[in-house]
């Protein structure tokens, strides 16, 4: 029954997307716009598959940069947010800086990293880490601060140390926030790596995109965009899966409710 409702709910968006694709395809087929400006969806799909062998190594490089940067940002976010949460002075000192830093567009400072760190993997990884750092840190900070005062008092009244407070109460209750931060950052990580590669490099989806763009191979540009989107969605799916496994108490909520006899 639930499945049927799901399908019915999806009919509208799916038909809408199908309609757009059909119009797009006909516009391309009728040669209203030149192919190098708007290639047909079918042409994009075909070029995606024919170029897959070439694309593969670029995908792997971008994925590697994104993952390494992502992991680094998680480690830093955990470290910084716990320190900020436990020492109020540090929180007040750093918080405005973190917020302000987010107003700087990454694309404008990416060239700086190329100047400082060259055209290897390092500047890309740094950019990914910077992009991912903010959403994780902010959501972790909020999660850590949102713990019920009565609960903290209760565990304190049982003589818990500060480390135990974090281990038993604060970190677990920050988990939902932490994961929503991870989901945002995970999708950013692929884009972040691509922006880094855009500035210059030898391999990666950003580099590949620059190349095919210069030769007006618009179908290949679109194919790369599809891959970037798929990779970002993949990150999101994997993180959601880990989230469900890591927080079974949320997942099991609807299982059973026991009444007093």
């Amino acid at each position: 029954m639930k499945r049927l409702v799901n399908i019915r709910e999806q009919v509208v968006p799916i038909s809408f997307i199908a309609a757009i694709l059909i119009i797009w395809e006909s516009v391309a087929a009728l040669q209203i716009v030149p192919t190098y400006i708007l290639p047909a969806p079918t042409k994009i799909i075909i070029s995606l598959f024919t170029n897959l062998p070439v694309l593969k190594e670029h995908i792997l490089v971008t994925l590697m940069e994104a993952l390494v940067g992502f992991v680094i940002s998680i480690v830093f976010a955990l470290f910084i947010s716990i320190i900020m949460d436990s020492i109020p002075v540090v929180r007040r000192a750093i918080y405005p800086l973190i917020i302000t830093s987010q107003t700087v567009p990454m694309i404008t400072i990416a060239p700086l990293f190329a100047i400082w760190f060259g055209f290897g993997y390092l500047p890309k990884i740094i950019i990914v880490a910077l992009v991912c750092f903010f959403p994780i840190t902010i959501s972790l900070l909020e999660g850590l601060a949102s713990v019920e005062e009565d609960l903290l008092n209760l565990i304190k009244s049982m003589g818990a140390s500060k480390v135990q407070l974090y281990k038993i109460i604060k970190l677990p209750s920050a988990m939902p926030g932490f994961f929503s931060g991870l989901k945002i950052s995970g999708t950013y990580s692929i884009t972040g790596a691509t922006i880094g590669e855009w500035v210059g490099g030898k391999k990666g989806l950003g580099v590949y995109m620059l190349r095919v763009k210069s030769s007006f191979a618009t179908d290949k540009v679109f194919a790369t965009i599809i891959i970037i989107t798929l990779l970002s969605l993949g990150m999101l799916k994997i993180i959601s899966y880990i989230e469900r496994k890591a927080m079974p108490w949320v997942h099991d909520k609807n299982n059973m409710v026991w009444e007093d006899e």
């Binding site: 818990a160 135990q164 038993i168 677990p172 988990m175 079974p248 009444e259």
Partner: protein, 244 residues
Amino acid sequence: MKKVEAINIKKSFGQLHTLEDISLSLEENRFVSLLGPSGCGKSTLFNIISGLTLPDRGEILIDGEVYNGKTGRVSYMHQKDLLLPWKNILSNVMIPLILKGESKNQAEKKALEYFHLFGLDGFEKNYPNQLSGGMRQRASLLRAYLFSKDIMLLDEPFGGLDAITKRKMQHWLLEVFNNLNSSILFITHDIDEAIFLSDEIYILSKRPAVVKKVFQVNIGRPRDDNTFTNVEFIRIKKEILNLL
């Protein structure tokens, strides 16, 4: 023997004079209730007794020793169950034992001994949100009990429950109290509940709170539904109603 004694406790928060002058004592294995209008500072008094808050004046004695500002001696249970949603019931009630440095196995064994008494048999592995309000409060009480068996502070533990569950929990608490060997301080603003459960009732005034009167409830135990129509019960209830 006096388990807990509060002597001339006074506490203000800035301009808010919460407790003016409170003295009370809890004898061993007695059930003592604090009854008063809401917002009169009963919970502040519990925070002071449990050592979370320092009084402006006065002393807290536990087993005859000064305990001002020292946590970790008495157990404290709130109106909210305050169970951790990410831990199952067994792991939740084990927390105080783990905090005391016991091994996981040892703590598990100790905690499991009480699951039957607390009516939680078979729910060891369930998460709190899978249990009813009454069961969660029983788990919360078990957690408090495992922390400190001899002195327990219960802050309106049944205040958040519906009337029927509340009545069941009161009967259950009376029954289980006989097996606990605890001295209990109990906050409530339900007059019937106070008389039904207690050996002694302190009536507190509104803020700034002082002790208005102390009632001895001389109704024998075990008590049951007939207690509510007992002559002594009605006499005390009338007097309390007149006072408030």
